[in-house]
């Protein structure tokens, strides 16, 4: 009993560390990725040198880190933490303080249902590499994403600032509109794999289509994949869907935030980016699946088999999941630095008049195809 609890706590810590680290490094990636796109150098100054004769030999090792700008996230963090904790005059102080916590909390909570590996057999125990093995994992994730709206609403309402208020209104309508599409696109996946459990969906993607093509979501639901990715992009509230922030129009729902509380909004944005990457990976790109890797090892479609030990298989799965997530984070970052921003009414048009009907049609089409396959 206590052992089970300890294992679950350990898994939660591992997941938390993965997410926080990927999200934290995002502030560096954002700087460097945008610099690469824009022909700049990006951050390459923050850092320190050691003057003590005892530690001076470390300086040559520090220099490449400084040039890569890897100290920049630390400098950013220190700057945010050192700033004054300020709440606006005439605002609701308590709600103002609570909003970023709620936002970050719900952004993190969704990760509990994301599987990052198959079952690990160690010391006679079966450990599912997933924090919470929920049989309605998919519903849980969307519930958490939906609750994230509260952070935005509260920050906008409690700030006593018209810009923050406008940002909150935009944020709420955007998130609610796109969650409908988001949910509708995933129905197709649920129909194909016949489960709401994220782990089961990923296991289902380990099968092969026509004996050679991995049965990943993107191959069985190509339209759903594109729609999901677009709607999920809107959920992250980053360009081209960064209307709630729109730094050149309204400054956003966090106009009145500074210091650590602002940093939490920033971090939550990055966490959501990781969430979108993880969800896309899990639902459409095989999650922790590696092509042709079975529990016993590689089984290639042409009949060859390479036996791989159990721990190595689990390691490959976890690494495969992380690599896919990071690749999607990179893709999201590239999109963010390439496109201009939508306008509010255009966003609503896109969500309700174009993406929702298409995603509903996708459900109907998927049902039809499944019926036909079963009938044949």
């Amino acid at each position: 009993m206590w052992m089970d609890l300890a294992i679950k706590a350990g898994l939660a810590v591992v997941m938390m560390l993965i997410v926080i680290n990927i999200a934290g490094i995002h502030s560096w990636v954002e700087r460097k990725q945008s610099a690469v796109i824009q022909d700049r150098w990006g951050a390459n100054r923050a850092g320190f040198t050691l003057n003590s004769p005892l530690w001076r030999w470390l300086n040559p090792l520090l220099r490449p880190i400084i040039y890569l700008g890897l100290f920049q996230p630390i400098a950013d963090l220190l700057k945010l933490v050192a700033k004054e904790n300020w709440s606006p005059v005439g605002g609701m102080k308590w709600l103002h303080a609570v909003a970023p916590f709620l936002y970050l909390l719900f952004a993190f909570a969704g990760f509990a249902a994301i599987p990052f590996g198959d079952t690990l057999h160690v010391a006679g125990r079966d450990i599912a590499l997933q924090v919470a093995s929920l049989n309605v994992g998919f519903v849980f994730i969307f519930a958490m994403a939906g609750l994230g709206v509260y952070g935005i609403v509260l920050s906008g309402v409690s700030s006593n600032n018209n810009y923050a208020f406008l940002g909150a209104v935009r944020g709420v309508s955007q998130m609610i509109s796109y969650e409908v599409t988001l949910g509708a696109t995933v129905i197709g996946i649920v129909m194909v794999y016949g489960s709401l459990d994220m782990q089961e969906i990923v296991r289902g993607q380990g099968a092969l289509l026509w004996g050679w093509l991995p049965k990943w979501g993107v191959f069985v639901q190509p339209l759903g994949c594109i729609l999901f990715f677009t709607a999920a992009l809107a959920e992250t509230k980053r360009i081209p869907f960064d209307l709630p922030e729109g730094e050149s129009e309204i400054i956003g729902y966090f106009t009145e935030y500074s210091g650590t509380k602002f940093g939490m909004f920033l971090l939550a944005d990055f966490v959501e980016t990781v969430m979108v990457a993880a969800l896309t990976t899990t639902l459409f790109f095989g999650g922790w699946q590696f092509p042709y890797l079975q529990a016993s090892g590689f089984v290639f479609p042409w009949g060859a088999e390479v036996a791989v030990g159990h721990y190595a298989v689990v390691a490959i799965q976890v690494v495969s999941f992380l690599v896919k997530v990071i690749a999607f984070c990179w893709l999201l970052m590239t999109i963010r630095w390439t496109l201009p921003r939508f306008r509010y009414d255009q966003l609503m048009d896109l969500g309700w008049k174009r993406m929702l009907p298409v995603s509903l049609a996708n459900i109907a089409l998927t049902g039809l195809v499944i019926l036909l396959i079963e009938a044949l």
């Binding site: 945008s34 796109i37 824009q38 022909d39 700049r40 018209n162 810009y163 208020f165 406008l166 935009r170 360009i239 081209p240 960064d242 209307l243 729109g246 730094e247 050149s248 129009e249 309204i250 400054i251 630095w337 390439t338 496109l339 201009p340 921003r341 939508f342 306008r343 509010y344 009414d345 255009q346």
Partner: protein, 448 residues
């Protein structure tokens, strides 16, 4: 339901102060908006945050000291402002500028116009969130600024114009530098064009936004690219040619009748190409400037001149006409009569003459001391040029003394900013930034 019918839901409009402390208002303008949701019901525009009293300051000093102030009007394209003011004073005094001087002026003005348009279209993309495209445009602008720096020694406050001409001739190898810079600028423009002009989001944000009819444009007396995009076929360079514009072959891009932001963007985009063409033509047509030749017809460089002087051949050297060097390096900078009117009453002598000879010093003294300097005959003149935003006019009144009695500047973006409240009504909050960006308000010239 009955309760609602009896007590209808009342909605209130929201008052929103946009600016001056707002990222896209640059701290220089304020919009007071009345919003119904996100739609603008009423807009009011408050200007004057950058008022520095240009016109009053111009009355305090001599005619020459106004020139640096003009740099600070439209600080994105200062050579055009210099030219406008100088034309007004030249009209007052009846001075003709040497041909080469006119060419240098036009070259610098057009280069300044390219920088201005690059800033405008770049900033518009940035305000739509496409920060990357903005930095691409800025790269092109840096190249253009390098050209300006090569000629004037400054990037922003160039003070390059002089009454009767320009400060100095173009540097050696400028023509090559221009061709190289324009080749790269064109590459960047093609790249940005690919990135934006058919980008669905960008087009949706610009097309049919900020519509302002041709009639209303004329009613507000708006000129420049903004008016041309709205279908007003009017360009001072073509329709009221000044300087040597009548010798150049160029087209005036006109909007296709949408009268929207996209047209304003497209017209500016097309004008940059026309400006580049003009500069290239000028460089071809330009009469050759003086070169240093000794009595036997041998061409001399600055270093050779110094060598000659060291050998004591100063008498010969003084007689030579040499290539003017704008960097004020000294050694091979001679008189600059090729680019400025040779009249000693308006032309500041070169620094070598000022520091090296009593005549030069006296000439300089007579021009800069209070009560001595340039004193045009009593009268008034209006010098006008096609600024990057439209008609840029300087109305100079002289009472016969060495100080201007009045210098009135007609800023091109004033009428456009006056029209902004009318344009904004009915649009959404998000449309303000692209509309405002395409108005290209430069607070320096608007508030003066």
């Amino acid at each position: 339901m009955r309760a609602i019918a009896e007590h209808p839901l009342t909605t209130r409009t929201m008052l929103l102060n946009l600016g001056p402390s707002h990222p896209s208002m640059h701290g220089v303008v304020r919009f007071v908006l009345e919003l119904d949701g996100e739609s603008i019901v009423k807009a009011d525009c408050e200007i004057g945050y950058l008022h520095r009293g240009f016109e009053k300051m111009a009355e305090q000093g001599s005619y020459l000291t106004v020139i640096p102030y003009t740099d600070r009007l439209n600080y994105v394209s200062p050579p055009i402002n210099n030219q406008g003011y100088c034309i007004a004073v030249e009209k007052l005094m009846g001075i003709t500028v040497p041909e080469r001087g006119e060419y240098v002026r036009v070259i610098m003005s057009e280069i300044g116009r390219i920088a201005d348009h690059l800033t405008c279209v770049g900033a518009a993309t940035m305000e739509l969130g496409a920060f990357t495209a903005f930095l691409y445009y800025v790269e092109a602008r840096e190249i253009i600024y390098d050209l300006i720096e090569a000629v004037t020694g400054a990037r922003l406050t160039v003070s390059f114009g002089r009454i009767g001409g320009v400060k100095a001739d173009l540097p050696d190898g400028f023509s090559n530098a221009v061709h190289k810079a324009f080749a790269r600028t064109r590459e960047i423009l093609v790249e940005c064009d690919k990135l934006l002009s058919r980008n669905r989001i960008f087009v949706d944000r610009m097309r049919d936004v900020g519509v302002f009819s041709k009639e209303r444009t004329l009613a507000y007396a708006i000129q420049g690219p903004f008016a041309r995009a709205n279908g007003v076929d009017w360009d001072l360079r073509r329709d009221q040619p000044y300087s040597i514009y009548d010798r150049l072959d160029f087209e005036v891009p006109i909007g296709d009748g949408h009268c929207d932001n996209y047209e304003r963007y497209a017209v500016r985009f097309a004008e940059m190409e026309q400006s580049m063409r003009m500069v290239e033509q000028c460089l071809e047509q330009m009469p050759k400037g003086a070169v240093a030749v000794d009595e036997s017809g041998r061409e001399l460089t600055g270093a050779d001149l110094v060598e000659e002087a060291k050998r004591g051949h100063t008498a010969q050297v003084q007689e030579l006409r040499v290539v003017a060097d704008p960097t004020l390096d000294g050694t091979h900078r001679g008189e600059i009569e090729q680019v400025t009117c040779p009249d000693k009453h308006v032309l500041l002598p070169s620094k070598e003459a000022t520091y090296g000879s009593i005549e030069g010093l006296m000439n300089h003294f007579k021009l800069v001391m209070t009560g001595h300097g340039l004193a045009p005959p009593a009268g008034e003149a209006y010098g006008v040029v096609e600024g990057a935003n439209g008609e840029l006019g300087f109305y100079v009144v002289s009472d016969g003394t060495d100080r201007p009695y009045r210098v009135r500047c007609h800023p091109p973006c004033f009428p456009i900013v006056a029209a902004i409240p009318e344009i904004l009504v009915g649009h959404m909050v998000a449309d303000i930034t692209p509309i405002f960006g395409m108005v290209n308000m430069i607070a320096g010239e608007l508030d003066r």
